[in-house]
């Protein structure tokens, strides 16, 4: 028989701090945090390398979009500390549930950049093997990937694995019903999931103030009985430290968490957006001074851990990735119309087989007239 209680049977989690957790300040100086320790220099260098390479990928993808080689590109310029810090905090067997915004996260995870851009190029809806990289397809319907992560993490835990799942979502997405349901399921099932909310201040044209009256988005966690962490999303060291700790807590059975990383979307929502209609350049410039790459570069230089040669090495790596991407994206191989029918169900139906034959016929006739 089930039993109910007359009183709450657990304590409230502590409130997240209004001031974001920070380990490195805007000028690249260390900040002490009572709970989180800075990752060591080796990790800091990996973070910097990932951000430099990731940013180069992002710039290249933006250029490809302007040239019409991508249907659209949602840039994460300015959000590299979240993209790279979040992913590097994961274990190889953890699962990532990214959105359209998180191409750099996928590249950091090791997914082939051309596979990452398959969606945005319009060749197919996703271009990599989720099982191989432990990365779900990039999700477009806001927050709907969050319950998938909860289900997968719950299934894994049930099977005795200690993997965890990291969900990426935007500030706007936290208003969606699926976000609420996923937070609640995760907490009730004690599923090993961390929800990394990249609060980049804007949901297309709508500022976060119009999404929520919560003091921080991390505060939302409290109502579900979860931990909420509010972190400086332009401080890669802090994002890495906070997400690592949250993942470790989650996999150890201490519960899921929401991590709000406060950052800024420096670019338009996508290449077809018109931000001058809704925000001031001055605001963008204010955030430019908080650049995550400059900040970590300054710290590592000040501490004598980064010389020109090392930085040039990272830059060179980025250039090579960009050159390879340009070359491979120039390939104009047309996608195969037959494939439209190949994956609808496990086995072809009579109707789909018929329709495939009809389309083949159309294609053949068009080619004949061409």
């Amino acid at each position: 028989m089930e039993r109910t209680d007359d009183r709450p049977d657990q304590a409230s989690p502590p409130l997240p701090s209004l001031e974001p957790i920070r380990l490195v300040d805007q000028r690249g100086r260390r900040v002490d945090d009572p709970v989180h320790h800075s990752p060591d220099h080796a990790v800091l260098l990996r973070l910097l390398r990932g951000m430099v390479v990731g940013r180069r990928f992002d710039r290249q993808a933006g250029a490809l979009a302007r040239q019409g080689r991508l249907a659209v590109y949602p840039s994460s310029f300015g959000q590299e500390a979240c993209q790279v810090g979040g992913v590097l905090a994961m274990r190889a067997d953890d699962w990532l549930f990214p959105t359209y915004r998180d191409s750099v996260a996928l590249v950091t995870r090791g997914v082939d950049p051309v596979g990452v851009l398959t969606l945005l190029r319009g060749d197919w809806h996703s271009g990599y093997d989720p099982n191989r990289y432990r990365c779900a397809p990039q999700c477009t319907p806001l927050a709907t990937n969050a319950p998938h992560a909860v289900g997968l993490a719950h299934a894994a835990r049930r099977a005795g694995s200690d993997l965890a799942a990291l969900v990426m979502m935007g500030d706007g997405a936290t208003s969606e019903g699926d976000a609420h349901e996923a937070y609640n399921f995760a907490a009730v099932w004690n599923a090993p999931v961390v929800f990394l909310v990249q609060n980049n201040q804007w949901a297309i044209s709508v500022p976060v103030r119009k999404q929520s009256r919560a003091p921080t988005l991390a505060h939302k966690a409290i109502g579900y009985g979860m931990r909420g962490h509010h972190v400086d999303g332009n401080d890669a060291a802090a994002v890495y430290a906070v997400v690592s700790r949250a993942l470790a807590d989650a996999r150890a059975g201490r519960g899921p968490a929401i991590v709000e990383a406060r950052t800024y979307r420096m670019d338009p929502h996508t290449n077809s957006d018109a931000p001058q209609r809704y925000r001031d350049d001055a605001e963008v410039e204010r955030w430019r001074a908080r650049d995550p790459v400059d900040r970590l570069t300054a710290l590592l230089r000040a501490e004598g851990r980064l010389d020109d040669a090392a930085l040039a090495g990272f830059t060179q790596e980025g250039e090579e990735l960009a050159a390879d991407l340009r070359e491979r994206m120039a390939d104009e191989d047309a996608p195969d119309p037959d494939e439209l029918f190949a994956h609808v169900l496990a086995a072809p139906t009579a109707q789909l087989t018929e329709q495939r034959a009809a389309l083949r016929d159309e294609v053949r006739k068009e080619a004949g007239h061409g």
Binding site: M1, E2, W124, H125, S126, D129, P130, N131, A136, P137, P141, T144, A146, P147, H148, A149, V150, G151, L152, A153, H154, A155, A156, R158, A159, A165, G177, D178, E181, A182, N184, F185, V188, E339, A342, H343, V344, L345, A346, T349, A350, Q351
Partner: protein
């Protein structure tokens, strides 16, 4: 052999699936100790433990969304939407992810999962407890949508649905939950995407599914008394659709009526009528008619009898199938046997 209700047959199917395959999990609202509001999951938690059959928080999108993740990890979740109309909050997950993940990932990620939905009216339910939501699901590529009409099919089709590599929306005709029939555990009937002929007849084909199959059979009985031979086809699989069996029947009878509870406008019957017309035009002696509910929100319980298609409404439709174009009375099949049709009617 023991007579079993459809609800018990479904219960047996879940029981056998849980016993045979450790990757099967059953969850939803009140499906645990209570056994579901219709008792379809009765005793499963006791027998298999909380780990295999459990109550989840009350959130349909969350239930279906978490099932997607579980299926990605290799489980075979069987989730329950408590009632048809309460499945709507999950609709985005169903349409955007359940149906599309295999295609999105080029076949690399399949989602073997079953979404059970008690559907349809006739149980005196207040608002939101009697919808026929099949057309919404059937319109979505990437799903298999099936609905049994007998206890034996309920058992067999649910077993098959759980084993399917594809996501299956399993529509349970709730007013037939208490219908009895013989069920032998482990026995499979026809594959779930195959239509079957429930009754042979030479004059007209009634095409029905789920709750209206029994109504169609009753109608056939009544029509037989008047000398009309009614063939009854039970679709079973709504998507994909068994064109061959349906067309074969209609070519034999030359007349067809589709029967469902849902509003006729934009309903599943429109698809059936169109497919039959496309394939059987030269065999048809009358337009394919649709008999269903009116184009109204589902009525309150004290009025639902006026809404649901019954024997009389179906007989009326049969009577409108241009029998005057035949030399002989219904009951002795004309046309197919080569009897000449009246000239005036041929081109009509």
């Amino acid at each position: 052999m023991a007579e079993t209700t459809m609800a018990q047959a479904l219960n047996l199917a879940l029981r056998d699936a849980l016993a045979e395959d450790p990757s099967v999990v059953v969850y939803g609202e009140d499906v645990g100790p209570l056994g579901g509001v219709f008792r379809v999951t009765d005793g499963l938690t006791a027998e298999f433990g909380e780990d295999r059959c459990f109550d989840s928080p009350l959130a349909e999108a969350g239930i279906v969304g978490t099932a997607v993740g579980m299926a990605m990890y290799g489980l075979r979740p069987v989730v329950e939407m408590q009632f048809d109309a309460f499945g709507y909050p999950a609709f985005e997950q169903v349409v955007s992810h359940v149906a599309k993940t295999r295609n999105r990932t080029r076949g690399r990620v399949s989602l073997p999962m079953v979404i059970r939905v008690p559907y349809g009216g006739g149980i005196g339910g207040v608002e939101h407890h009697s919808d026929s939501s099949e057309a919404y699901y059937a319109h979505t590529p990437g799903l298999r949508v099936v609905t049994p009409s007998t206890p034996a099919d309920a058992y067999s089709m649910l077993r098959e649905a759980v084993e399917s590599p594809d996501p299956v929306v399993f529509l349970e005709p709730k007013r037939r939950y208490w219908t009895k029939g013989e069920v032998e555990r482990g026995t499979r009937t026809e594959p779930m995407d195959r239509a079957v002929v429930r009754r042979r007849g030479s004059d007209v084909t009634l095409i029905a599914y789920g709750p209206t199959v029994a109504t169609a059979l009753e109608t056939a009985e009544a029509a037989a008394a008047e000398g009309v031979g009614v063939e009854v086809v039970d679709l079973r699989g709504l998507s994909p659709f068994d064109d061959a069996t349906v067309a074969d029947s209609v070519r034999g009878t030359g007349r067809a009526v589709v029967v469902h509870e849902a509003p006729v406008f934009g309903g599943y019957g429109a698809e059936v009528a169109a497919r039959v017309t496309e394939r059987c035009f030269h065999y048809l002696e009358a337009p394919v008619l649709r008999v269903g509910g009116f184009d109204i929100p589902y009525p309150p319980p004290r009025l639902e009898e006026h809404h649901l298609p019954g024997v009389d409404r179906i007989l009326d439709a049969i009577a409108r199938l241009q029998w005057e174009s035949r030399w002989v009375s219904p009951g002795a099949r004309a046309g197919a046997a080569g009897e000449p049709l009246p000239v005036a009617e041929v081109g009509a």
